[in-house]
Amino acid sequence: MRALATSPAIHETVVVDRRETLSGIVILGLYAPEIARLVRPGQYAMAVPPGGERAATALGVYEARDERISLMLAVVGVRTRELANLQVGAKLDLLAPLGNGFDLEALRDDVALVAGGVGLASMLLPAQHLTASGRRAHLYYGASTAEALVDESKFAELGIGVSVATDDGTRGYHGFVTELLERDGRAHDVLAACGPSPMLRAVGRIARLRGVRAQLALEETFACGVGACWGCVVAIDRSSPQAPRFPQASSAWDGHADAASASEYVYARICKEGPVFWSDELRW
């Protein structure tokens, strides 16, 4: 996506609000006036671990309003557990805003927003932006079970239709959200999605079949989050505007010997060139 003119920095924020859903998802409200002002839809923050000893954690900026932002956390490992345990009053330092968000101009008239799990965190700001600029959107939202579906109402309040799916059928469509999207009759000009990789791949396939384009907000294990370590990459078309300038190269560890073996793709950094990519440019 196009580089945005926001300048990231380290911000010292404070937890001012903490919600925990039945399914254990935690939403941390933070006093963070500068981030709230600067952040664009689809950008993220790196949360400095309060106890040190591990890399910072990448988190989408979920809400941003009135000097506050919020983060939505699913506990999957030690880093997210440590963050989810933060209580009101705790300090949290963030590197933000980071990455290139969605290309909002390219999200034209009728947009399908597709969210899987806490991928929802990256969908609210785009939804607000789309409705504010008078465009139509519909949210397809999937989770493992009914309890794990959170905050749909925030989308409905924007006047956005919401269709939900659960893996176990406890609410809405019984199955994956991408199956729901496929079966759904509605035609959309463009898709925008955030969620686990298999879901994003399926969204890419659906877009191809429908002859529309899809913007995918990718997730991968990050270390630096600022483009310094080349750890968070995804294979992308050499011709993509997001592809790093890079001569033809070999792909193997013994690459010293066969630079001639050209490859069609190069690795782009999700944290820097992304996290949002056009699905038809990915080679994954």
Binding site: A9, I10, A56, C224, V234, G255, H256, Y267
Partner: protein, 314 residues
């Protein structure tokens, strides 16, 4: 101005003089500019650039990172555009860095090391060369240069022969006797040693039943390896007289001090930047406080003082 409140943190690695003794680890700090929004580069000693090879390399398949307890596994696979593209497009930009710039050279043969060092070292933007000898040597069944005294010596000699710039050789901890390798590399003409590179490791995804890294194995860094790194510095410091750049899991001045007291003249911070980009500045300010509290006029005074075997830079 009392001396005690402004202790001298200067360090010399061969002819490379740094105002503060903090280097940013190769592969962890990009070319410096990536961290410029978060850290004042004028307050760090040097950035060690991502390792560059003779030919371009796409790097390893994904995933390339896995988080482990107090550690990070990586297998980037030396993604880089190759020395020619690098010289043509990247190196000029390094001139604007307000700190020293150390080029990092990787290779798969002795000839690679000589060639890339020679091409890179002539450039004024590059103030010193670090030799990353942790690559497999294709000539000898994939054995790593840093794990074989003969190969380590040959790579060092080859690089030494083609440049008079300060030459730092980076040692691997994945050996039975790191001090023995250090001695050989010192003899081959290195000006300083970087101790240590990452420790070999692996994590397995038990759901998918395969290694979590695309490359299967990777290198472990971060606080988990700090005790391994401190001991490696301790042992090397009792074996050589050239300065040591200690590294492995440094996140604070106290962490850095473990390395200085063991015998390192400077430290390098890699993964610590991923925890918090303010770590390098916290390290230098914490060092100043520590020295001032003890009435030490310079960092040099305390280097190696916990290590009875310390030989000390000549």
């Amino acid at each position: 101005m009392k001396l005690e409140t402004h202790p001298d943190l200067q360090v010399e690695l061969g002819a490379l003089r740094l105002r503060v003794p903090t280097l940013m680890g190769s592969g962890c700090y990009g070319s410096g500019e990536e961290y410029a929004p978060f850290a004042d580069l004028a307050e760090i000693g040097a950035v060690v650039l991502k390792s560059v090879t003779r030919l371009p390399r796409l790097g390893n398949p994904t995933p390339r990172l896995a988080v482990t307890p107090s550690g990070l596994l990586n297998a980037i696979g030396l993604q880089n555009p190759g020395i020619e593209h690098y010289l043509a497009h990247d190196v000029a930009k390094f001139a604007s860095r307000p700190c020293a710039v150390v080029g990092s050279v990787a290779g798969f043969s002795v000839d690679d090391y000589a060639y890339v060092t020679q091409r890179l070292a002539v450039r004024d933007e590059i103030h010193a060369i670090e030799l990353n000898i942790s690559c497999p040597n294709v000539g000898s069944e994939g054995e790593t240069f840093a794990c074989d005294a003969n190969l380590a010596e040959a790579a060092t000699k080859a690089a030494r022969a083609v440049t008079a710039k300060p030459l730092i050789v980076k040692l691997s901890p994945n050996v039975t006797d790191i001090a023995a390798i250090a001695r050989v590399v010192e003899g081959a003409g290195a000006d300083a040693l970087a101790v240590i590179n990452t420790v070999r490791g692996m994590a397995i995804d038990v759901d998918r039943r395969e290694p979590r890294l695309g490359n299967a194995a990777g290198g472990l860094s971060g606080p988990a390896i700090r005790p391994i790194a401190v001991l490696a510095v301790w042992n090397v410091a009792a074996a050589v007289r050239i300065p040591i750049v200690g590294q492995g899991g440094i996140e604070s001045a106290r962490d850095a001090l473990e390395f200085f007291l063991a015998g390192a003249s400077a430290v390098s911070i890699g993964t610590g930047n991923f925890t918090d980009p303010r770590v390098p500045l916290n390290v230098t300010s914490g060092l100043r406080t520590y020295l001032a509290q003890r009435g030490a006029g310079s960092l040099r005074e305390i280097v190696g003082t916990a290590n009875p075997g310390f030989l000390g830079p000549a």
